[in-house]
C-alpha cells in the first residue's frame, strides 16, 4: 500500500479506500469488516475526528481510533506527561515524562497506522480558539478533565453542527453520552455553564487504571456508530457505569 501510494503520488489512505472500493481488504482491517462492512471502513477512513485532551480518556481514544482506521485524527492538548499519569494514561511511560502528550500521541498513531493523517495542536481548547481547532472535524470526542472546557466544546460543536461524544470519570464510575446539536446536552445534568461545580469527586478519590479505558472504549464505539451509521448512538440519555456494583444506568434527559 505504501509503495503504491509513493509510486502514484497519492496518500496511503486514498490507496486503502480505493482498495476497499474494489472489495480488496487491507489485511490490517480484516477483523473490522465483519462488524462495520466495507462501506463502514471506507467511511471511517474518510472521516476526521477531533480528540480534545490526550490523557486518560484521550490517550485510549486515540489508540483505538488509530487501530479502527480513522482517516484523520485531530489531537488537542497542551499538557505534558507527569509521573502521576502513569497509572492510567496509556501513552505515558517512564521515558516520556515531561514530554507533550499530544506529540507522544501523534507518534503513537503513526506507529500503529502510518497512513492516518494527524493534526496536532499544543493548545488548550477555549471558546475563543475552538472554531480554529475543530475546523474540518466531523465528530468531537471528550478527553477533558474539567467542566468549563466541556461546555466550550459543546458550544463549539453546536455552532459547527456536529456531534460531541461526552465522557467523564471518577473513581470506579464513569459517564458518557453523545450530544447532537439539537439535543439538550450538558445543561440537563449541570445546569447553565454559570453554575458549574468546580470539581468532581475524582479529585479526592482519584481514577484507577481501568476506569478511563472502559469509558474511552465506549466513546470510540459511539464514534464508530456516528460515522458508519450502524447502531444507535446514546442520545438524550446519560449512561452511568458503576463498575463496583456492575451496574449500567441510563437516565433519560429532557431539556
Amino acid at each position: 500500500m505504501t509503495s503504491i501510494a509513493h509510486t502514484e503520488g497519492i496518500s496511503a489512505i486514498d490507496v486503502q479506500i480505493a482498495s476497499l472500493k474494489q472489495g480488496i481488504i487491507p489485511w490490517r482491517y480484516l477483523r473490522n469488516i465483519g462488524t462495520i462492512g466495507l462501506d463502514g471502513q471506507i467511511k471511517l477512513l474518510q472521516s476526521t475526528v477531533a480528540v480534545v485532551g490526550a490523557g486518560g480518556l484521550g490517550g485510549t481514544i486515540i489508540e483505538l481510533l488509530a487501530r479502527q482506521g480513522t482517516g484523520h485524527i485531530i489531537i488537542i492538548d497542551n499538557d505534558r506527561f507527569a509521573e502521576q499519569n502513569l497509572n492510567r494514561q496509556l501513552m505515558s511511560t517512564e521515558q516520556n515524562l515531561d514530554e507533550y502528550k499530544a506529540i507522544i500521541a501523534t507518534r503513537r498513531v503513526k506507529e500503529i497506522n502510518s497512513a492516518i493523517a494527524v493534526t496536532t495542536f499544543l493548545e488548550r481548547l477555549t471558546t475563543e480558539n475552538a472554531a480554529k481547532l475543530l475546523k474540518n472535524a466531523q465528530v468531537v470526542v471528550d478527553g477533558l478533565d474539567n467542566l468549563p472546557s466541556r461546555f466550550a466544546v459543546e458550544e463549539a460543536c453546536r455552532g459547527r453542527g456536529i456531534p460531541y461524544v461526552y465522557g467523564t470519570i471518577a473513581g470506579f464510575s464513569g459517564q458518557l453520552m453523545t450530544i447532537y446539536p439539537e439535543d439538550a446536552g450538558l445543561s440537563c445534568i449541570y445546569g447553565s455553564s454559570d453554575s458549574l461545580p468546580e470539581q468532581g469527586i475524582e479529585v479526592k478519590i482519584g481514577n484507577p487504571s481501568a476506569t478511563p479505558a472502559i469509558i474511552a472504549a465506549w466513546q470510540v464505539q459511539e464514534i464508530v456508530k456516528i460515522i458508519t451509521g450502524i447502531g444507535k448512538p446514546i442520545r438524550n440519555h446519560l449512561l452511568i457505569l458503576d463498575t463496583i456494583e456492575g451496574i449500567a444506568d441510563r437516565i433519560e434527559l429532557s431539556g
Binding site: G53, G55, G56, L57, G58, D142, G143, L144, D145, N146, L147, R150, G167, T168, I169, A170, G171, F172, S173, G174, Q175, S187, C188, I189, Y190, G191, S192, S195, P197, Q199, G200, I201, E202, V203, K204, I205, N207, P212, I240, D242, I244, E245, I247, D249, I251, E252, L253, S254, G255
Partner: protein, 94 residues
C-alpha cells in the same frame, strides 16, 4: 402530597446501600428536606471515612435531576405523581 421516587446512582448508591426510595411531597423543597434528613448525615459520614470533606446539604455537593432535568434549570418546583428525583456525584475527570 405526590408520591415520587428518589434514585441514587454510582458512588452515592454504594455509600448509602440503597437504590431508590419513595417519598410523599408536594414540592421539591419538601422532597429535598426529606432526602437530607434521611440520608445527609450517613452520606457525609461515608464520604468523611474516605477522606472526602463536603459541606452543606446533599443538593450542594451532588448532581440532582428531576425527570432528567437539572434542578438548576427548573422554573417550577411543584411535584407530580410518579416524578423521579435522580441524585449522583459530580464527576469531571478524564
Amino acid at each position: 402530597m405526590s408520591p415520587i421516587t428518589v434514585r441514587f446512582y454510582s458512588l452515592w448508591r454504594q455509600y448509602l446501600g440503597i437504590d431508590s426510595i419513595s417519598l410523599d411531597a408536594d414540592n421539591l423543597e419538601e422532597a429535598l428536606a426529606q432526602v437530607e434528613e434521611k440520608f445527609g448525615h450517613r452520606l457525609r459520614d461515608q464520604l468523611k471515612a474516605d477522606g472526602i470533606q463536603v459541606t452543606g446539604k446533599i443538593q450542594d455537593y451532588s448532581l440532582m435531576l428531576l425527570n432528567g432535568t437539572s434542578l438548576r434549570c427548573l422554573k417550577q418546583t411543584d411535584l407530580r405523581d410518579g416524578d423521579q428525583l435522580q441524585i449522583f456525584p459530580p464527576a469531571t475527570g478524564g
